[in-house]
């Protein structure tokens, strides 16, 4: 991927990721901020929706159990998905992978490494999110004062300013990470040849399955999981005979 294209891609990833991040906390919560939706959208914007879908599906399973309960701020799955998709597209374009379904085999090799590179950047997203939430406290104070003059409209205005703060914080955090990493991905992934190898991808999926299994553990759900996998496996084995 040429430098200009990588830079444009990184800016696109940051802005789109920042907008989609709004759904995570600040507005709607219709779940377009989940990896399964965010990653294909980012992939589509970068010209490779299928690559985004694969990255999104893996991240969705991996982050299924990280819940926003009480004061806990979970891993920023939206920004992470946007960044991973950006990295995967930059890497695959850099290595000249085939388009569409044919390129998915190459993505299975690249994706685990992209996730490994992006995971530490998740701390930046988390910090930006926490910063926005801290700054929001001031809006509460401003609203308390302005309600005398502006009534309900002042409350609505101040509340929406919080969403703007989330948008700015998430977009800037993505810019700070996506620009260097996506520019670097072009060089890094083309610098040495990754051999077609899907074991790391399979490992990633199994960690994800574990995360999902853990998040839905209740009563005898482990038996249901095992029985269902065994039944599905038996059916597929029978079909393979």
């Amino acid at each position: 991927m040429p430098v200009n294209a990588a830079l444009t891609g990184a800016i696109l990833v940051s802005v789109a990721g920042g907008v989609l991040s709004l759904d995570r906390t600040a507005a709607f919560q219709v779940m377009v901020s989940r990896p399964l939706v965010t990653a294909p959208v980012i992939g589509y914007l970068l010209g490779h929706p299928l690559w985004g879908l694969l990255a999104g599906a893996v991240l969705e399973i991996l982050l299924i159990g990280d819940l926003p309960v009480g004061r806990y701020v979970p891993v920023h799955e939206t920004s992470l998905s946007a960044l991973v998709t950006g990295l995967v597209v930059a890497a695959l374009e850099g290595t000249g992978a085939s388009e569409g379904y044919a390129g998915l085999k190459s993505e299975m090799t690249v994706l685990p490494l992209a996730i490994l590179i992006a995971l530490p950047a998740g701390r930046v997203f988390q910090k930006a999110d926490i910063m926005a939430r801290k700054m929001n406290a001031r809006l509460f104070d401003t609203a308390s004062v302005s309600v005398d003059g502006g009534g309900g409209a002042a409350l609505i205005r101040n509340n929406l300013k919080g969403a703007v703060l989330f948008l700015i914080a998430n977009t800037v955090a993505l810019l700070l990470t996506a620009v260097p990493l996506m520019l670097g991905a072009g060089y890094f992934f083309t610098g040495f040849e990754l051999k077609p190898f899907t074991a790391a991808f399979a490992g990633l999926l199994l960690v994800g399955a574990g995360a999902a299994a853990w998040s839905i553990t209740t009563g005898r759900s482990a038996y249901v999981f095992g029985a269902s996998a065994a039944a599905g496996g038996a059916l597929l084995t029978w079909l393979a005979l």
């Binding site: 600040a26 709607f28 919560q29 219709v30 779940m31 377009v32 989940r34 399964l36 939706v37 294909p40 929706p49 299928l50 879908l53 969705e60 991996l62 299924i64 819940l67 891993v75 090799t109 939430r133 801290k134 406290a137 809006l139 308390s144 309600v147 005398d148 009534g151 409209a153 409350l155 509340n159 300013k161 919080g162 040495f192 051999k195 190898f197 790391a200 399979a202 490992g203 990633l204 199994l206 399955a209 574990g210 999902a212 299994a213 853990w214 839905i216 009563g219 759900s221 249901v224 999981f225 029985a227 269902s228 996998a229 065994a230 599905g232 496996g233 597929l236 084995t237 029978w238 393979a240």
Partner: protein, 256 residues
């Protein structure tokens, strides 16, 4: 059944406002400003030209509030209902705020367990399975399945809250969400099992689709998923476990 005083227009404004209840989420007041902003159109209508009473009500609602964002809808509806009664002098003016503060804790816990703990994993697993089987239908299946539960709670929660007032507590109890959460988790576990089997088989090389290899791949995936699930139960983080699994495998892929 009590009839709500607010107009359809205000109802829609409050409904739309409920989607922004976390816009100014802060560690100190959490959804306090969001709740006050969402209920503001209803208060404007209830108190009309009486500026003093209106501002008093707005200020009373400008306080700490935290519950699950979707469960705010029944609370909003019921609070508006009680606010109307307070306007008529049928209950103390502090009653709406008191109602809010009493129900927010339990509703937060119920909503977290039901929506975050059961509906979202179910929709995620179904969506990923759909993505494996039917590609781009995955995100659509995920969004459709999740938002059926979500939007029903937003709309009917608000409507029932307006109709029933503090009786909405009994209504929410009658939904028996904790029991449904357990049922949905069992359904998720069953779907996850199918997903594991399908994914294990789809990752086999084309030449290796014999029965023995298929069965071994499925068994290995069940064992590995149970093992990593156990690691999470014991406190392993996603970052740590992913790194432990990925780094050696990636290095192996690069070197050999």
């Amino acid at each position: 059944m009590a009839r709500a005083m607010i107009s359809g227009r205000s109802f829609i404004k409050v409904f739309l406002g409920s989607f922004f209840i976390q816009s100014s989420w802060s560690f100190e007041k959490m959804q306090g400003l969001g709740f006050a902003a969402a209920i503001a159109p209803a208060l404007e209508e209830i108190y009309g030209a009486d500026e003093g009473l209106k501002k008093g009500a707005l200020k009373r609602h400008l306080a700490f509030y935290n519950a699950h964002p979707y469960m705010a809808s029944p609370v909003l509806g019921a609070t508006i209902n009680i606010e109307e009664k307070a306007r008529k002098g049928e209950c103390p003016k502090e009653a709406p705020s008191k109602f809010k503060s009493v129900v927010m804790g339990p509703y937060g816990a119920i909503g977290d367990a039901f929506f975050w703990g059961a509906v979202r994993p179910l929709a995620s697993i179904a969506g990923v399975l759909a993505a494996v089987l039917w590609s781009m239908w995955g995100p659509i299946v995920f969004l459709a399945l999740y938002n059926v539960f979500h939007l029903l709670m937003r709309w009917y929660g608000l409507k029932k809250g307006l109709e029933l007032g503090d009786g909405v507590v009994a209504f929410i109890k009658s939904l028996d969400l904790p029991r449904w959460a357990v049922r949905l988790k069992y359904l998720s576990a069953a779907l996850l099992g199918v997903l594991c089997a399908v994914t294990a088989v789809s990752l086999l090389p084309p030449s290796g689709n014999g029965a023995a290899k298929t069965a071994s791949a499925v068994l290995a995936s069940i064992a590995a998923a149970v093992l990593s699930g156990y690691a999470f139960k014991k406190g392993a983080t996603i970052q740590a476990l992913a790194s432990v699994v990925l780094i050696p495998l990636i290095l192996y892929g690069i070197i050999f």
